[in-house]
C-alpha cells in the first residue's frame, strides 16, 4: 500500500505514536493514568467505528459489549482469585462479549436503521438492570471490587494500554482497508445492491459485530484489572456509550484512527478543563457539536481536507 505510506494520515499516526512512546519520560504518573484510560476508551471507539463507519449500523449499545466483557472478567476474578489467572479472566471476558454480541446481533440485524439502534440501546438498559438486581453477584450499584490488578506501576499499565491500543488499532484499521472492509462498506451503503452482487450481507455484518464485540470486551476486561473495580457508571451506563459515539464521530468516522484521536481528545479535554467544574462538560459538548455540525468528517476530515483536493 504505497499510497497509504505517503499519505498525511500515516505520518500523523507515526508522529502520534512517537509522542506516546516518549511521554512516560516526561510526565507524571497521574497523566499516565489518565492516558491509560484514554487508550482503552480509544479501543472502544475504534470498535464502534467498525460497525457504524463501515457496516453502516448505529450501535447505541457499545457499553453492552464492554460491560459484558468487563463484568465477566471481574466476576470470575472476584470469585475464583487467586486460583484463576487474571489473563484467563480477561480472555473469558472477551469471549463472553463475543457471545453476547452474537446473541444481540442475530435478532438485531433482522431489523435495520433506527430499530437496530433501539434494540442495542435496550440491551444496555437490560444489562444495567441485571447488574443492579443481581447485586450479590455483581456488586450492584456500589460496584464490584476485584482482588487483582495487572500492575500497580503506572508506567507498566501505560505500556500495556498503549500496546493494546496500537495492536487493536492496526488490526481494526487493516480490516477496514481489506477486501472485507470494502464489502462491509458496500453493504452499509446499499444492502439490496450488495446482495444482488452476491454478498451475504448478514454474514458480513455479523462478522463485523463479532470483531467489534471482541475488542470492546477485551478492552473492558483489561480496564477492570487496571482500575481494580467495575461499576455501572464507568462501564455500562448509556452516558458512557454516548461518550464513545461522540469520540468516534468527532475524530472522523470511517477512519478507525479518527475514533482513537477523538477518544483521547475527549478525555484529555475533560481533564484540562476540570478546574472549571460543571462548565467543562458544557465546553467539551459545544466543541463536539460544532465539529459534528460543520465538519461532519471530524478532526481527520479537517486535516485531510486540504490533501484530498
Amino acid at each position: 500500500m504505497p499510497s497509504f505510506v505517503t499519505s498525511r494520515l500515516f505520518w500523523i499516526a507515526v508522529l502520534t505514536v512517537i509522542v506516546a512512546l516518549v511521554l512516560p519520560t516526561y510526565v507524571s504518573g497521574y497523566v499516565l493514568g489518565l492516558l491509560t484510560v484514554a487508550y482503552y476508551t480509544a479501543v472502544f471507539a475504534m470498535s464502534w467505528d467498525l460497525l457504524f463507519g463501515f457496516a453502516g449500523e448505529v450501535n447505541f449499545g457499545p457499553t453492552f459489549l464492554i460491560g459484558v466483557g468487563a463484568y465477566t472478567a471481574g466476576i470470575l476474578d472476584a470469585h475464583y482469585s487467586p486460583g484463576l489467572s487474571i489473563w484467563l479472566c480477561i480472555a473469558a471476558g472477551a469471549l463472553a462479549a463475543v457471545v453476547g454480541g452474537v446473541v444481540l446481533a442475530l435478532p438485531a440485524l433482522r431489523v435495520s436503521g433506527p430499530y437496530f439502534g433501539l434494540t442495542t440501546l435496550v440491551a444496555v438498559l437490560m444489562l444495567q438492570n441485571f447488574i443492579v438486581v443481581a447485586a450479590g453477584l455483581t456488586g450492584g450499584e456500589i460496584g464490584l471490587a476485584v482482588p487483582d490488578v495487572i500492575s500497580i506501576d503506572a508506567k507498566t499499565n501505560y505500556w500495556i494500554a498503549l500496546g493494546f491500543m496500537l495492536v487493536s488499532g492496526a488490526i481494526l484499521f487493516g480490516l477496514s482497508r481489506s477486501a472485507i472492509g470494502l464489502i462491509l462498506q458496500a453493504s452499509g451503503q446499499d444492502k439490496i445492491q450488495a446482495g444482488a452482487l452476491g454478498f451475504n450481507v448478514t454474514k458480513h455484518k455479523l462478522a463485523a459485530f463479532v470483531v467489534s464485540a471482541f475488542f470492546s470486551g477485551l478492552a473492558g476486561a483489561l480496564m477492570v484489572f487496571y482500575m481494580g473495580t467495575a461499576s455501572v457508571s464507568t462501564f455500562v451506563d448509556v452516558g458512557v456509550g454516548v461518550q464513545i459515539i461522540i469520540a468516534a464521530v468527532l475524530g472522523g468516522r470511517r477512519t478507525v484512527i479518527g475514533a482513537a484521536i477523538g477518544a483521547i481528545f475527549l478525555i484529555g479535554m475533560g481533564e484540562l478543563l476540570r478546574p472549571l467544574g460543571e462548565l467543562a462538560t458544557l465546553i467539551v459538548s459545544v466543541i463536539a457539536l460544532v465539529v459534528i455540525l460543520f465538519f461532519p468528517d471530524g478532526f481527520l476530515g479537517i486535516i485531510r481536507g486540504g490533501a484530498k483536493a
Binding site: Q193, A196, L197, G198
Partner: protein, 489 residues
C-alpha cells in the same frame, strides 16, 4: 437460439399484504435474447424483476434458471448462480475510486479472504474499459457525470459475468447519444450469449433493442410478442392511450384573461447531474383545465414541484402576473396554488374527517362546514367514511380524500399529479365523474399531470405532451390522437 429457455418464470405471484403486485405471471428468456418488460407505474414490472433477483421473495410460482429453482432463495445466492441486476439509482462508494467500486463486485463472499486476488485489478480495469469508464478510472463517483454513474452500475452488474442480466430502466435520464452507447453495450451482452431482461415504462424506448416485449398492467401480462405487434395490440393501446378519445374542450379563445393566470417560462431543473426539466414553457388561463401528459420519468412531477416552489429551477414561474421565484412553498400554497401530490401524503393515522378539517384549517367554522358539505356532494363515498382512518381506505378512496383535502384549501389553481396511479379502471370512472362535476360547477383552474391519456384528455381544454424533460407537443385534445399518439407509446 437454443431450444430450452435459460430463464423460465411460471405463475409468479407477489402479494404485499392485500395488494397483489404481480399476478400469475409467466414468461421465459433464451440465451442471447433480449426481452423487454414494460408497463406503466404500478403495473408490477419492477416487482417482477426484483422477484427474479430475490430482492423480493415471491409469494407463489417458480423462477428457474437453466432448470434450477431460484424462487425463495436470498438474493446473494441467486447472484452467485449467475443473475446480475443493473440498478437504476446508484449509491456507489463515494470515497473509493471507480476502479475500487468495480473491484468490490469482483470480491469473493468470504470472510477469510482479507486481500483480493492478484487478477482482480486487471479484470476490473478490463471491465471499466469495456463499458467506457477507462478515462475516469481513478476518479471518485461524486465527480462523475450522470451517464458515467450509470456505466458504473452496468460495470458492477456484469463484473461476475452473469448469465442473465436484469436492467432497470436503462435509459432514464440519458441523452440521445448516451442512449445509443448504452444500447450497444446491452447488445454486446446479447451477443455474448447472455439473456437480458429490460424493464421500462413504454415500448418506444426499448423497441429498437429488444427481441420480444411483454406488457404488464395491474400485475398481469396483457400482451407479449415482437415490439411492433405489442404496439399494435388493442389492450396495450387501451392502457396507454385509452379507447376512443372523447373531448369536451373549450377553445382557448373562450378564456377572457389576456395574460394567462399561470405562466411558466423556460423553466429548467437539474437533479444533481440529471436534467429533469429543460426549457419548459406553458400557460394556463383562469378557469381552464390543462393536462400535461407524459410517461413516468418525463418530468411531470418535477414541473409541478417547481411551480409549487419545492425544487430550485431556472427560468420564471408567474402567477397572476407576479413572479413566484423566491417565495416559499407555504407562501405559494397560501397564494392559491395547491398541489395534490402523486404520493397523496395523507395523514394515515387520522380519520377522513380530520384530514379534511386540517385541509380547511384556515377557514372559519361556518365556511369549513359549507365546504365539507360541498365536497361530500362531490365525493359521496367520503361522507360515509368520515370516522375511518385514512390509511385503511382503498387506493381509490385515498385518492379522492387527497383531492378533497386539497380542495378544502379553496385553491385557485389545483395541481393534480397522476391521480390515477395504481388505480383499477372502475375507480378511474368515479374519479373522472368527480373531475367533470368540478369543471362544470366551479370556476377552479386545474393543471393535471397524467400518464393515462384516456383519463387526461376528456377533461382537458388543452394538452401538453412532456417527453424526456421537454414539451414536445401542445394542442387541443381532439388533435392529440392524430398528431401525438404515435410517438407516445
Amino acid at each position: 437460439m437454443s431450444a430450452a429457455p435459460m430463464l423460465e418464470v411460471n405463475g409468479l405471484t407477489k402479494r404485499f399484504g392485500g395488494l397483489v403486485a404481480v399476478k400469475n405471471l409467466s414468461f421465459s428468456i433464451h440465451a442471447g435474447e433480449i426481452l423487454g418488460l414494460i408497463g406503466p407505474n404500478g403495473s408490477g414490472k419492477s416487482t417482477a424483476m426484483k422477484s427474479v433477483m430475490g430482492v423480493e421473495r415471491p409469494t407463489a410460482g417458480s423462477v428457474k434458471l437453466d432448470g434450477v429453482e431460484l424462487a425463495g432463495l436470498p438474493s446473494h445466492r441467486i447472484a452467485r448462480m449467475g443473475v446480475g441486476l443493473v440498478f437504476q439509482h446508484s449509491r456507489p462508494l463515494a470515497r473509493q475510486t471507480v476502479l475500487e467500486n468495480i473491484k468490490v463486485a469482483l470480491l469473493p463472499d468470504k470472510l477469510t479472504r482479507l486481500f483480493a486476488d492478484k487478477d482482480v485489478d486487471a479484470r476490473a480495469r478490463a471491465i471499466a474499459e469495456r463499458v467506457g469508464l477507462g478515462g475516469v478510472i481513478d476518479r471518485r463517483p461524486p465527480t462523475l457525470a450522470f451517464a458515467d454513474l450509470r456505466r458504473l452500475e452496468l460495470a458492477k452488474a456484469v463484473a461476475r459475468s452473469p448469465k442473465l442480466v436484469l436492467v432497470d430502466e436503462p435509459f432514464a435520464g440519458l441523452t440521445a447519444s448516451e442512449v445509443a452507447d448504452f444500447s450497444n453495450l446491452i447488445r454486446e451482452f446479447r451477443d455474448d450469449g447472455r439473456a437480458v431482461l429490460l424493464v421500462d415504462h413504454n415500448v418506444k424506448s426499448v423497441s429498437a433493442l429488444v427481441d420480444r416485449v411483454l406488457a404488464m398492467y395491474l400485475g398481469e401480462k396483457i400482451a407479449e410478442g415482437r415490439a411492433t405487434e405489442v404496439m399494435q395490440d388493442e389492450t396495450v393501446r387501451r392502457v396507454y392511450l385509452g379507447g376512443a378519445l372523447v373531448s369536451t374542450a373549450r377553445p382557448e379563445a373562450s378564456f377572457k384573461d389576456v395574460t394567462p393566470a399561470l405562466q411558466v417560462d423556460n423553466v429548467g431543473v437539474l437533479y444533481g447531474k440529471a436534467q429533469a426539466l429543460q426549457d419548459v414553457s406553458l400557460h394556463v388561463h383562469e378557469g381552464e383545465f390543462v393536462s400535461v401528459v407524459g410517461l413516468n420519468g418525463a418530468g411531470k412531477t418535477t414541473l409541478f414541484n417547481a411551480i409549487s416552489g419545492l425544487v430550485p429551477y431556472s427560468g420564471a414561474v408567474k402567477w397572476a402576473g407576479r413572479n413566484l421565484a423566491g417565495g416559499t412553498a407555504a407562501q405559494i400554497a397560501r397564494d392559491g396554488i395547491v398541489q395534490c401530490p402523486e404520493t397523496r401524503e395523507l395523514f394515515g393515522d387520522m380519520t377522513v374527517r380530520e384530514n379534511l378539517e386540517l385541509g380547511g384549517n384556515a377557514l372559519s367554522d361556518a365556511e369549513r362546514g359549507e365546504r365539507l358539505e360541498w365536497l361530500f356532494g362531490l365525493f359521496p363515498i367520503l361522507k360515509s367514511r368520515q370516522p375511518q382512518l385514512a390509511r385503511t381506505l382503498s387506493g381509490g378512496e385515498q385518492q379522492m380524500l387527497a383531492i378533497a383535502r386539497a380542495l378544502m384549501m379553496k385553491p385557485k389553481l389545483l395541481i393534480l399529479d397522476e391521480p390515477t396511479l395504481g388505480l383499477a379502471p372502475v375507480i378511474l370512472e368515479t374519479l373522472s365523474k368527480a373531475l367533470d362535476r368540478l369543471r362544470e360547477t366551479t370556476k377552479i383552474t386545474v393543471l393535471l399531470g397524467e400518464q393515462n391519456v384516456t383519463f387526461a384528455l376528456p377533461h382537458a381544454d388543452r394538452v401538453y405532451v412532456l417527453d424526456h424533460a421537454k414539451i414536445v407537443w401542445e394542442g387541443p385534445p381532439d388533435r392529440f390522437e392524430a398528431e401525438a399518439a404515435e410517438n407516445y407509446l
